[in-house]
């Protein structure tokens, strides 16, 4: 039992954080909304970090490296399809879609694409139009799905895709909570720091507990995937459910404690809360994910101290 991240993963995360800060941090997300070509800067920075050579399915180290990069990318809402770039199969990137309205963030930068839906069906996906340009989905691109005939074993990349999207959400959550802590420490009302109101401290504490728990679950899940590959699908779905639950509450707190600045574009927290939606809602929202997870637990069990699921599998 050793829950410690290896030093070089910690260093990689620190290097990535510096690199993203040099690009302007959350400003790059703003720029890219005005001019999508700004995304190339993110792509170049990721290439310089060696991100595109990482194969998270190869071993635990690379899985952790992928997690660390997605987490750092989330902290600044990095405008780039990093998760998709990290989930590859046979020269194609693997993305998750909802066939009812297939949207893929930054799909215009991804080619060729294999898309996997919640039922595990595999499709070819091609860009079907321009990005939505909406406030909550500025880079979400409609794609067209064609049935994939023939066999493509994308279970493992799809599993890691669920986990990495959760790592991105974790980054968003941690970024927002850090901004919130900074804000309540510096803003004064009623002649004292907001941070000195107990009602504020309690909300911060709950957000910290939630973010810490999500971070632990993310590490654990990535470790499971590195041991079991697609066998850890249940774990990846559980992580994704929890990431969505935590993001909803902790990021809401972060936004709320900013007061009106929480919805002002010039405040980073506002951009984070807006941009996280693209990851949170796509391919499906948490309750549909939850249904899939419940069925999967009944089928496959849930690694724990005692057996769960219809098969009573104890791991």
């Amino acid at each position: 039992m050793d829950p410690v991240l290896p030093d070089y993963i910690v260093e990689l995360a620190a290097t990535a954080r510096r690199a993203f800060a040099e690009l302007g941090g959350v400003d790059l997300a703003r720029q890219a909304e005005a001019d999508p070509r700004a995304r190339e800067l993110a792509g170049d920075a990721l290439a310089a970090l060696g991100a595109l050579d990482i194969d998270p399915l190869a071993d635990a180290d690379q899985a952790l490296a992928a997690l660390a990069l997605c987490r750092e990318a989330g902290r600044v809402a990095l405008p780039y399809p990093l998760e998709a770039m990290l989930c590859r199969h046979d020269g194609a990137v693997v993305v998750l879609v909802d066939p009812a309205d297939p949207l893929v963030d930054h799909a215009d930068l991804l080619d060729p694409m294999l898309a996997v839906d919640l039922a595990g069906q595999v499709h070819h996906a091609t860009v079907a139009g321009p990005a939505l340009g909406s406030r909550l989905g500025p880079f979400a691109v409609p794609v067209e799905l064609q049935p994939h005939d023939g066999f493509a074993d994308v279970d493992a990349p799809a599993t890691i895709a669920w986990a990495l999207s959760s790592a991105t959400v974790l980054g968003y959550v941690e970024g927002a909570v850090d901004l919130c802590v900074e804000h309540v420490r510096t803003r004064h009302q009623f002649d004292q720091r907001l941070a000195d109101f107990q009602a504020v401290q309690f909300q911060i504490a709950d957000a910290v507990v939630a973010a810490s728990g999500l971070a632990e679950l993310a590490l654990f899940t990535v470790w499971r995937i590195s041991e079991l590959g697609a066998g850890a699908r249940v774990d990846a779905l559980a992580l994704r459910l929890h990431a969505a639950d935590v993001a909803r509450t902790a990021m809401r707190t972060a936004q709320q404690l900013h007061g009106a600045s929480g919805v002002a574009e010039e405040y980073d927290v506002s951009v984070l809360c807006r941009r996280v939606q693209a990851t949170l809602r796509s391919p499906v929202s948490s309750e549909r994910n939850l249904d899939t997870l419940t069925a999967a637990i009944r089928q496959e069990g849930f690694a724990s101290l005692f057996p769960h699921g219809r098969e009573r599998v104890s791991t």
Partner: protein, 383 residues
């Protein structure tokens, strides 16, 4: 990074499970029920654990332990709590009274108390809380006055778990009337049969034998009763509470009950309302998260890193998961959740028992609000 406990810990878990299966009846719900036989079962089980040197497994060898790792200790905590703490009240002695005596006790105190705790022969209680000193423990008023060769103690304690069964009490009392609240607080190791001690049980939803009031009327103890020096009690209390906070692996019983009730329901599980199955799944995930946070706190403690905040983070998650699970289980049972062991509940009343205990989880050993205060303050820092 590796979340596997390893083969030795797995073997220990298996050993404990088979011991429990052999020694503890399947319908055991803890030592504090109305049935006096349950206490006897716990006492027997402790003796058996002690004989296998499993009771104080994590203690250093010089104090009669096996020098087990914190992960071995974690396995013990998990298996014990999961199976309704068949050590009964003794977990307190093993978890923190013993370690506090190791850390702060005199050689004489170590020689007197550690072997007895290690043998599973003695029950300790914790006399900290008072009617007017709960969360604000440092405002306690029980008084110790120096008398010839010892101390005379007067005051009242409340919510004292197991006081009726205990042979010894770690009592917090104040010596002198210091400038600051923490001044003068002193710990005393007091035999419960000392003249002047009266125990009065408090009826509670936890069952008859859990909570008590303890009155100290001119109780005289000798100088050897002082633990860690006069006026040094606060430091020892903090030490003790840090152990206590990660001491109960509530998530393990949650895990076992979610598993057991699912098995009991069989295919009926799939007939549960959709929302109930959904909260079941969320509860399972919350239990996993709570367990991982507890492991983080344990890891930091083992590294010697001050883990106050991590311990509080873990306790908030663990106690909330406890209540989330209690509710999820009750949702699945509908009105039959009202049945207890005697009135024919499923799983011998284990779910009903869990629900009642879970309601106190966010109060016992420091309320969740106090934990939030610790986490909140350490996060935002001082002005």
């Amino acid at each position: 990074m590796d979340f596997d406990f390893g083969a030795d810990a797995d073997a220990l878990r298996a050993e404990l499970r088979s011991l429990i299966a052999a020694e503890v009846p399947a319908d055991f719900l803890g030592a504090f029920t109305d049935d006096p036989n349950d206490l006897a079962i716990a006492q027997r089980f402790c003796a058996r654990l002690a004989a296998e040197r499993l009771l104080t497994l994590a203690w250093p060898v010089e104090y009669g332990g096996r020098g087990g790792s914190v992960w071995d200790q974690t396995v013990v905590r998990e298996e014990m709590w999961a199976h309704h703490e068949p050590r009964g009240a003794q977990y307190m002695g093993v978890n923190w009274v013993g370690p506090a005596i190791m850390a702060f006790g005199t050689d004489e105190q170590k020689a007197l108390h550690l072997p007895a705790i290690g043998a599973g022969e003695v029950i300790w209680c914790q006399g900290f809380s008072e009617p007017d000193a709960g969360s604000d423990l440092a405002s306690l008023r029980a008084k110790a006055v120096a008398v010839d060769g010892g101390w005379k103690i007067t005051g009242q304690k409340i919510w004292t778990s197991y006081a009726e069964m205990a042979q010894w009490c770690v009592l917090a009392a104040r010596v002198g009337s210091g400038e600051k609240k923490h001044d003068g607080i002193t710990l005393f190791l007091v035999p419960m049969d000392t003249l002047g001690i009266t125990v009065r049980p408090i009826a509670s939803s936890l069952g008859r034998h859990h909570l008590n009031e303890v009155f100290f009327d001119d109780v005289v103890v000798d100088d050897n009763a002082v633990l860690g020096g006069v006026g040094n009690g606060w430091q020892a209390i903090r030490h003790a509470l840090a152990f206590e906070r990660v001491g109960i692996a509530r998530y393990a019983r949650c895990d076992r009950l979610l598993s057991a009730l699912e098995a009991e329901l069989g295919d009926g599980f799939d007939e549960l309302p959709h929302a109930v199955r959904a909260s079941w799944t969320r509860a399972l995930v919350a239990v996993r998260v709570a367990r991982l946070l507890a492991y983080r706190a344990t890891h930091l403690q083992a590294e010697g890193t001050p883990a106050d905040t991590a311990a509080s983070v873990a306790r908030i998650a663990v106690t909330q998961a406890d209540q989330l699970v209690a509710e999820a289980l009750f949702q699945a049972l509908d009105s039959s959740s009202l049945r207890d062991k005697a009135s024919g509940a499923v799983l011998h009343g284990a779910v009903e028992d869990h629900y009642r205990y879970a309601q106190a989880a966010t109060v016992a050993s420091g309320t969740i609000e106090i934990q939030r205060m610790i986490v909140g303050r350490s996060t935002v820092g001082r002005a």
